[in-house]
Amino acid sequence: MAQSRHAVTKEQSPKITALVVDDNMVNRTIHQRLLDNLGIENEVVCNGKEAVDVHCSGKNFDLILMDMDMPIMNGIEATRRLREMGIRSMIAGVSTRAMEQEIQAFKEAGLDDYQEKPLTMSKLTSIIRKMNHND
């Protein structure tokens, strides 16, 4: 189930929204804090299926931070499903998996960007910059 957290808006520009998809509680907490710090309104889900379900319920996000390895439905499958559903949000894959073919498969599923974990403020900023550039 998605949990909502409302961030403090730091600027006057329209609020960006983000979905954190990660089965690891430590990572979810850190990613949420990174997003909060940038004034990005965010929600969390714990696996790929919950990410798909939250979109099926009608919600949409500007940015999705998608972990690769998750139970029930992994990030590759979730990304593929979201793209098939017509979701055009910026999807940034984040993972600790280092094998080139795994990263390639993740990208081919429909990622707009890929960052190696752990996520830092500068990596997140580069994702946002890419997102603004693509608009």
Binding site: V8, D23, N24, M25, V26, N27, T29, I30, R33, L34, D36, N37, D69, P71, T96, K117, P118, L119, T120, M121
Partner: protein, 154 residues
């Protein structure tokens, strides 16, 4: 002990944790995410890591004790632990997990059991170190001082 001395002790202790490889730059990232609106962020995340890791270590011991070890399950647990230790900057735990992952792939039970002991050892070491660090911080705050900002330059 006066506040200045406590602050110097904290700085020296924190530096030693980085120099000895217990912590890496990711821990500094967490410290930078802490501010007046989230003054306990680092303690909260690290506490989550402690609780999560103890559960994972327990699950690993159980998984490796089965008559037919499910290495996929073992690998999944180690991957989780590698992920969270990496995210909080617990470098030696992360490195021990990387070695563990390699032996999982080889389906080598004896080596996996040795790795588990190694990961446990590194985990309890860093837990002890971080609890000491947080105690030092509390002493400073309790004495009316502020936590010095440290640039670790990683």
């Amino acid at each position: 002990m006066e506040v200045g001395q406590m602050q110097r002790r904290l700085v020296d202790y924190t530096k030693s944790l980085f120099m000895e490889g217990f912590l890496d730059g990711q821990f500094s990232q967490l410290q930078q995410l802490q501010d007046e609106s989230n003054p306990d962020f680092v303690v909260e995340v690290v506490s989550l890591f402690f609780d999560d890791s103890e559960k994972l270590l327990n699950d690993l011991a159980i998984a490796l004790d089965q008559p037919n070890v499910d290495f996929k399950r073992v690998d999944a647990h180690v991957h989780q632990l590698k992920g969270s230790s990496s995210s909080i900057g617990a470098q030696r735990v992360k490195n021990a997990c990387i070695a563990f992952c390699n032996f999982c792939k080889q389906h080598n039970i004896e080596s996996c059991l040795r790795c588990l002991q190694q990961v446990k050892q590194e985990f309890y070491l860093v837990k002890n170190k971080l609890e000491t660090l947080f105690r030092l911080e509390q002493q400073i705050v309790g004495a009316g001082g502020s936590i010095p900002v440290m640039e670790m330059g990683f």
